[in-house]
């Protein structure tokens, strides 16, 4: 079997509060193959961004703890690398696209300077080569007049354009893995479609593995082949997108899908809400974290944690899947 582009093995993240260990990510494992896009979906506080930060090694040093059996990029375990080696791979082998391009871009440098800087940091090269690569990258993300964009400052660009600039920074070194953290959440409908289109195009072009983090299942469906649904630090269901949307097997996934309002010409189905609330990280219920809100819960759901029921590690982590 081919080596997966990204393999995360038993990753956990926690922080300490008043001497108590509060879990944020709870023993999750997954793989993404080259050329595949996998969505990591969940509501705020479920731990999806923390997962990305842990993979990238970007968690603040104090207050957070991370443990894992391994994080492999193309077979190479990066989790045991020291800080400077870890930093060296950021941007080169694995890159991230953030949600708020306005704050992620440095306002005092031009787009060209920022994209070029990423390339230069990892590959060096003369001015000409860096500039050429930078312009090519800007074109590849969809800018029709790369020269103008390269000379522009972030504040001169619209939200969508800034996001494309961020994508350029993330792809200039042609990384094997791209992590996109809510890249379209702050954008309007038409810009969102444009950005997703560009991401899909780039992903196919570079055969990158994409981890697409979002709270929006609809957006994930447009770009990802597979999807993982996360709740309170654990992966509840892991399957391909079409299967999830046609018949979600975990009660939480199904509940989440029925919360989403649909556009329809005829009378739309009313949304239904999942009863109760997401528990806070410091107050997680024993057993399956979703059990207190689950209409299908039985006694063992409150006592023990269900494992994913699929042979390959996917499927629904549920004792009574739908």
């Amino acid at each position: 079997m081919k080596t997966p582009a990204l393999k995360v093995d038993d990753l956990s993240v926690w922080f300490e509060k008043s001497g108590v260990r509060v879990p944020v990510v709870d023993h999750i494992s997954f793989t993404i193959n080259a050329g595949d896009a996998t969505g990591l979906v969940g509501e705020s506080g479920c731990g999806k961004t923390m997962t990305a930060m842990a993979i990238l090694g970007l968690l603040p040093a104090s207050g957070f703890g991370v443990s894992c059996a391994g994080i492999e990029i193309n077979g190479r375990d990066i989790s045991r690398l020291n800080a400077s080696r870890r930093r060296a791979i950021l941007g080169r082998d694995i890159a991230i696209i953030f949600q708020q391009p306005a704050t992620a871009l440095d306002p005092v440098f031009t787009i060209g300077q920022q994209v070029g800087a990423v390339y230069r940091r990892h590959f060096g090269g003369g001015k000409k080569q860096v500039r050429q690569t930078m312009l090519e990258t800007l074109e590849s993300v969809g800018f029709k007049q790369a020269d103008d964009i390269a000379a522009a400052y972030p504040h001169q660009l619209s939200g969508g354009m800034r996001q494309l600039a961020m994508i350029a920074m993330a792809t200039v070194c042609k990384p094997a893995i791209i992590i996109a953290d809510e890249p379209t959440t702050a954008l309007d409908g038409s810009t969102r479609t444009l950005i997703l289109h560009q991401l899909k195009h780039l992903q196919a072009l570079h055969r990158a593995a994409v981890l697409f983090i979002s709270h929006d299942l609809g957006v994930v469906r447009q770009i990802c082949r597979n999807v993982m649904v996360m709740y309170c630090g654990r992966i509840m269901e892991s399957t391909d997108c079409e299967s999830l949307f046609s018949h979600a097997r975990h009660p939480y996934s199904a509940g989440l899908l029925s919360c989403i309002p649909r556009i329809s010409a005829g009378r739309p189905e009313p949304v239904s809400a999942i009863p109760g609330q997401v528990p806070s990280a410091g107050d997680l219920p024993a057993g399956c974290h979703f059990a207190p809100r689950c209409t299908r819960a039985e006694a063992r759901c409150h006592d023990s944690v269900p494992e994913p029921d699929d042979q390959t590690g996917g499927g629904a982590a549920c004792f009574r899947p739908l």
């Binding site: 969809g142 289109h197 609809g218 469906r221 556009i263 739309p268 009313p270």
Partner: protein, 334 residues
């Protein structure tokens, strides 16, 4: 979403020719917008961000002074009201903001937040007010234990419920929700939408629901009004809007909302070249540059509001569209 047949005929709120410019010399944020809201209905005001939706809301609440135009509440011009009449009107028009973590006063308890409108508008007396506050709190799904806590001690869904409670405590007739569910997670959004539906059916509250999310609008609106760059381009009943949107811009909005790129869409040129918008002539249709169904007339003459059905010229109405394609005179030429 309900479509009651017994909606009152006189509009509860009427906006006539409202214009608002923030920076002199620049494009107006709100450009001669006219629409009306019938009692008991929910008008969804949609459009991209920056289209002017929030500005319209703020003008209705008199938070900003419009440059021109009138806003009539129950037939009376809000802009001309004396302070006492304005206060009474404000009691009946309340707003729910987008982000409850900043729209609730952080150093005030829930009780203080709910009591403030009651005290300010002199509703009830010292004895009845706490009861009223508690009753409203229960309506939005919270209880007594919330009263003495501060906003930051609640989840965002609960915070938005408190914000809604604050808006409800004066028994308003019109509730303006400005992207009230946009910051919420989808499962909490569903809970709040259900709450809004309950308020629509049980309390008969009229809503002006501002949102860029058409799926949300589909759930709760009885009518849809579309804003684009400050201008109102269409107002239709929701069922009609979602099956047969009239204005070409509405069609593109709907396409994008479904995740599809509308055929013939040339908009991406603008998105990629922000500083180089095609120049609009002042009298042309504001959407002409990107319209897939553009007529030659659209670039030279600004369209009037036409009735979707009859093609007659209209100022406001239940079904109107600002587009030359619906000009009954025009239609004869094709």
């Amino acid at each position: 979403m309900t479509m009651p047949g017994h909606i009152g005929n006189a509009p509860l709120l009427e906006v006539r020719n409202l214009s608002l410019t923030f920076h002199k010399g620049k494009q107006p944020a709100v450009d001669r917008v006219s629409f009306s809201i019938k009692a008991g209905s929910t008008v969804g005001l949609v459009g991209a961000s920056g289209a002017g939706k929030s500005s319209v809301a703020r003008a209705i609440l008199q938070l900003v002074k419009p440059d021109s135009g009138e806003i009539l509440f129950k037939g009376k011009n809000i802009g001309l009201m004396d302070p006492r009449a304005l206060k009474t009107a404000r009691q009946s028009i309340q707003m729910v903001f987008q982000d409850p973590s900043v729209s609730l006063s952080p150093k005030r308890t829930v009780e203080q937040t709910l009591m403030e409108p009651l005290q300010h508008f002199e509703i009830g007396d010292a004895e009845s007010r706490p009861e009223k506050a508690l009753q409203i709190l229960r309506t939005v799904g919270l209880d007594q234990s919330a009263m003495h806590r501060y906003p930051h001690q609640f989840s965002s869904g609960q915070q938005q419920r408190i914000a809604i409670a604050r808006a409800l405590v004066t028994d308003p007739e019109l509730l303006i929700a400005d992207e009230a569910v946009a910051s919420l997670d989808v499962s909490i959004q569903a809970q709040i939408l259900l709450l809004i539906q309950k308020l629509q059916t049980e309390l008969g509250i009229t809503f002006l629901f501002i949102s860029h999310d058409l799926a949300v609008i589909r759930q709760i609106a009885s009518e849809v009004a579309v804003l684009y760059r400050g201008q109102l381009l269409e107002q239709s009943p929701a069922d009609r809007f979602f099956s047969q949107p009239a204005h070409p811009y509405s069609k593109t909005l709907l396409s994008f909302a479904k995740g599809e790129t509308p055929p013939g869409w040339t908009g991406d040129k603008w998105h990629l070249h922000r500083g180089q918008r095609p120049v609009d002539e002042p009298s042309a249709c504001v959407f002409a540059a990107f319209c897939p169904d553009k007529l030659p007339k659209c670039e030279s003459t600004e369209p009037a509001m036409f009735s979707i059905e009859s093609g007659n010229q209209h100022v406001t109405g239940p079904q109107c569209v600002k587009c030359h394609l619906y000009d009954e005179v025009n239609s004869h030429d094709h």
